[in-house]
């Protein structure tokens, strides 16, 4: 074990509440094709999600 037990524990009651919320928000099948691309910041087209280890040269800004 690398971390203290229960450090990031999510209480069972909270998971049940989340499950109830999720059931109300099931997307239409047409919305579900591929996982969403998550960029490390909006506008970044590299889609590396911060994986670049300090090497990212990307701008967070849109074009003029």
């Amino acid at each position: 074990m690398y971390i203290e037990k229960d450090m990031f524990r999510i209480p069972t009651g909270m998971l049940e509440q989340l499950s109830d919320i999720s059931k109300l928000l099931i997307p239409r099948p047409s919305d579900v094709t591929v996982p969403p691309i998550v960029n490390c910041h909006d506008g970044c087209s590299s889609s590396c999600s911060g994986s670049c280890g300090g090497t990212c040269a990307g701008s967070c800004y849109g074009t003029n």
Binding site: M1, Y2, I3, E4, M7, F8, R9, I10, M14, L15, Q17, L18, S19, I21, S22, L25, I26, P27, D31, V32, V34, P35, P36, I37, V38, C40, H41, D42, G43, S45, S46, S47, C48, S49, G50, S51, C52, G53, G54, T55, C56, A57, G58, S59, C60, Y61, G62, T63, N64
Partner: protein
């Protein structure tokens, strides 16, 4: 022409990265560039690369990134290229950007940057509190005008890299930068040797950060604690994490093209077979075979250039980052579960999430909670 604020553009952007110089006035503890030379990029090479990017019909817009070394170590060329770009008519929208250590942006350079800040964006590297920064980056904190950067480009994240020296203060460093007006892009340094004793320290720091963001709904959580755990709810594994070698091209001072700067000889040595690299990076499957079957695979980012530097294989990851990724996933799930239950507090992170996004986030939280044990 006004500066566009941050954007979620769906437009395809070509990124041309110009390594103007490998010279740098700092020597950071985690620097991945080792065999630096003192060559300068000729203006013709720079201009040709930029024209080529604009002529690529596969893309809707162009980003010109100045990189180094420290690009301001060759301010004369950078200024010339910028002014050449701005006086021409281009067929596509574009942005000019530079990554900088901030230490050379003073006096006449600073005046020029300020005058052009509506069309020239700077991203500054700051590694947390003054003490943290000084440990990692040559005691250079006092040479950086933090307010200059945070006030001119409020949507641009400060780049904060964590080393073994600064990991015990990770949360303090991120919070410090937020308090000075920065968004924060934060990650553990690649290319250094991490030890098992770093993992509990990292977890403790992410717990502090999670609680900070839970208590401060208006602050955008930094990248280290917003892992895309929703992707675990999909069977499909993301094929590629970045634009290296496809929508991104890097040009060095000789005009040689690389997938990104980490493939340059200064980082990866001289043995890189560039044709092979470009070809592999166009592949449909770049998942490390050791990661197949891992529940985190769709959510766990990687850097192909750093992989190559460390393992001589684009796909093979340094496994010391596995536990960090698992801790990040647990911390992200912990933080987001609390935010989602308290959505009435209007958390920044959840502001633009659709119902579908929330659904998959919750599924991701459940999967992480059930599957990841560290």
């Amino acid at each position: 022409m006004s500066l566009v604020t941050n954007t979620s553009s769906q437009k395809k952007r070509k990124i041309v990265e110009l390594v103007l110089t490998e010279r740098c006035n700092l020597s950071c503890v985690y620097c991945f560039e080792h065999d630096k030379d003192t060559l300068r990029m000729s203006l013709d090479i720079a201009k040709n690369a930029i024209e080529e990017a604009f002529n690529d019909s596969s893309y809707d817009e162009v980003e010109i990134d100045f990189f180094g070394g420290e690009p301001f170590a060759d301010f004369k060329n950078m200024k010339h290229i910028c002014e050449w770009i701005w006086q021409k008519q281009w067929p596509k929208p574009f942005i000019v950007f530079a990554t900088t250590n901030g230490t050379m942006v003073h006096g006449a350079i600073k005046d020029w940057v300020r005058k052009n800040s509506h069309r020239f964006i700077l991203g500054v590297s700051i590694d947390g509190t003054p003490d943290m920064h000084n440990l990692n980056r040559n005691n250079s904190f006092a040479q950086i005008d933090l307010n200059f950067f945070s006030s001119l480009w409020p949507f641009q994240s400060a780049k904060m890299t964590i080393s073994r020296l600064t990991i015990p203060n990770l949360a303090e460093g991120v919070i410090y930068l937020h308090k000075h007006g920065f968004k924060v892009s934060c990650n553990n340094a690649y290319g250094i040797t991490w030890e098992e004793e770093d993992y509990p320290i990292f977890a403790e720091q992410l717990k502090k950060l999670a609680d900070f963001y839970i208590d401060n709904p208006n602050i955008e959580p930094c990248s280290i604690i917003t892992m895309p755990i929703q992707n675990t709810a999909f069977d499909h594994v993301l094929q590629k994490w970045c634009g290296a070698g496809t929508n991104m091209i890097c040009i060095d001072r000789t005009g040689t093209k690389y997938p990104c700067h980490t493939f340059m000889p200064s980082s990866s040595g001289n043995s890189v077979k560039l044709d092979d690299m470009f070809s592999i990076l166009k592949s449909d499957n770049l998942l490390d075979t050791n990661c197949q079957g891992c529940v985190l695979a769709p959510s766990c980012p990687t850097c192909y250039g750093i992989n190559y530097v460390e393992t001589s294989d684009i796909t093979k990851r340094n496994k010391s980052h596995c536990i960090f990724s698992k801790i990040r996933a647990k911390a992200t799930a912990y933080m987001l579960s609390t935010m989602l239950i308290n959505r009435d507090r209007e958390y920044y992170y959840l502001k633009e999430k659709t119902d579908s996004d929330i659904h998959y986030l919750i599924n991701g939280i459940r999967i992480i909670d059930e599957s990841i044990n560290i």
